[in-house]
């Protein structure tokens, strides 16, 4: 084979190719170079060789819904150990499944709420939200009685000496636990889903932090951990659930879970917000139980759901008792 300039079909001079360079010193093609760069970057993304075993386990952990009971047990044990070391106390990570014949729903009496925000802080304390940067799952809106539920007129930063202020009413907004949740639909990795008892949950170990769900939620109920959550160990609630209030890593989305760690028990406690409300405006119960408070409310009171026109079908019923 003679060496010479490669000539194209029209007699033009062609770019030298690999074959032409056979006799020369090593030269790298663009393709090879890109492959190498990708391999190096990929290796850098992997945990270091001497990383503790738990990091590898976390790395290869499956989606919550795909784990076998044994795998789940191992994951829970690993998390409990991790959190125990971090917060210096015995932490329990529950994985209680939905109760049979239970569909949770919530009622909030707008004629009673005085906007004192006790629920906001009870929720933060119960569910281990980041204190700094601040994350709160409940937002209390101050609305004008003359304008009604006009969200463009809502004021969440009100701070008078005493509430309620004359001429105003208050509407706390949190996750509405929609029957048709837009946030679940948009998740590209199925890290969030609706459980059989009606609670929409997030697997924080599967969430990639794309925040599509935050964009999809019409209620502003989802919150992102932009920074490593600031949770003082003394204030950490050690009674947790895998899908609920266990400590979150940076870069994941979180939301209200109807205090899943409390309610998925027989007997199960009321949610923290119900328990703290000084005026008894918050009601919680099983939609499938004809004797529950929530059924009485739906059957006997004037009830409305927020942004009904979006067809999200919330399980959160605002009502007006008097």
């Amino acid at each position: 084979m003679t060496r010479g300039k490669a000539v194209g079909p029209y007699g033009e001079e062609r770019m030298p190719n690999d074959r032409d360079r056979d006799g020369h010193a090593f030269r790298m093609s663009r393709r090879k170079m890109l492959k190498g760069v990708a391999a190096v970057l990929g290796a850098m993304a992997l945990p270091a060789k001497d990383a503790p075993a738990s990091v590898w386990e976390t790395f290869f952990q499956k989606n919550f819904r795909e784990m076998s009971p044994e795998e789940l047990k191992a994951v829970v044990a690993r998390l409990e150990k991790e959190y125990g070391a971090k917060y210096g106390k015995q932490v329990r990570v529950g994985v209680n499944p939905p109760l049979e014949g239970v569909r949770f729903a919530y009622g909030l009496d707008l004629s009673r709420c005085i906007g004192c925000r006790r629920c906001v802080y009870a929720c933060v304390g119960e569910n281990n939200q980041s204190r700094n940067p601040q994350i709160q799952w409940i937002r209390v809106l101050q609305l004008n009685k003359e304008r009604g539920v006009d969200l463009e007129d809502a004021e969440p930063y009100y701070n008078p000496a005493r509430v309620p202020e004359p001429g105003h009413f208050y509407m706390p907004v949190q996750c509405q636990q929609c029957e048709n949740p837009p946030c679940v639909k948009v998740c590209p990795v199925q890290a969030t889903w609706k459980e059989r008892d009606g609670i929409t949950v997030v697997d924080y170990n599967w969430c990639i932090g794309c925040r599509y769900c935050m964009a999809a939620c019409p209620y502003g109920a989802r919150h992102f951990n932009w920074k490593k959550p600031g949770l003082p160990p003394a204030e950490m609630n050690p009674e947790t659930h895998y899908l609920g209030n266990r400590p979150r890593p940076v870069g994941v989305v979180e939301k209200c879970t109807f205090c899943i760690q409390r309610v998925r028990n027989t007997p199960g406690r009321y949610t923290a917000c119900v328990e703290i409300c000084p005026v008894g405006a918050r009601k919680f119960g099983n939609l499938l139980d004809p004797d529950s408070e929530i059924r009485y409310i739906i059957e006997n009171k004037r009830v409305f759901i927020l942004k009904e026109d979006l067809n999200t079908r919330p399980r959160f019923f605002y009502f007006y008792a008097t």
Partner: protein, 194 residues
């Protein structure tokens, strides 16, 4: 003649028996407490006519008495009840009635002769732990909602034992409007989160 006398005797015996039975009936609601200081306690009208219904009992806490004020009979046992409608000037002056004032006074709810209990409009005496029945006489709609757990606060278990609160745990019966509270701090504005 003989027969007629016998008939009168029988009639007299029957009348005496009836009277005795009536007297025993009247004595029936005997008080366990010693009421000697205020004399014999007149039976409340409702005690017999409207016996306490075997209604559902509600798990309520003890009423929020001012410390040391209960039992009321502690102070009242030596006093002769004064049923004259008046403004109290010597005792209980801290109580300002702001609850249908002018239309009622102390002894419309507090029992005149048994100071440790209240009474309903039908005269039935009730314990302070049952005061919701007293409130329910006027506020029937709230009472109905309270019974099913919709008016007022519930704590405990959503699918188990629930703890109720008495009306008076949240509403001062003499001034029932819920008092304004200091709100907890507002959320940090997004621009201020660092």
């Amino acid at each position: 003649m003989q027969r007629e006398r016998l008939r009168y005797l029988r009639l007299a015996a029957a009348v005496i028996a009836c009277l005795a039975a009536g007297a025993a009936w009247a004595q029936a609601p005997a008080r366990t407490k010693d009421q000697s200081a205020v004399g014999a306690l007149p039976p409340a009208r409702g005690d017999k006519l409207f016996p306490e219904p075997a209604a559902r009992q509600y798990p309520v806490p003890s009423p929020p008495f001012t410390p040391g004020i209960f039992p009321c009979s502690e102070c009242h046992k030596g006093m002769k009840p004064n049923t004259k409608r008046r403004v109290l000037t010597e005792e209980h002056t801290n109580i300002v009635l702001n609850h249908a004032q002018g239309e009622r006074w102390c002894l419309d709810c507090h029992d005149t002769y048994d100071r440790d209990r209240l009474h309903l409009v039908n005269g039935q005496r009730i314990r302070f732990e049952e005061s919701y029945r007293l409130c329910g006489q006027c506020h029937g709609d709230k009472y109905r909602d309270w019974k099913v757990g919709v008016h007022g606060k519930r704590t405990g278990m959503w699918n188990g034992e629930k703890q109720y609160l008495l009306c008076v745990n949240c509403h001062n019966p003499h001034d029932p409007r819920f008092k304004p509270l200091k709100p907890m701090p507002p959320p940090v504005r997004p621009g201020d989160i660092r």
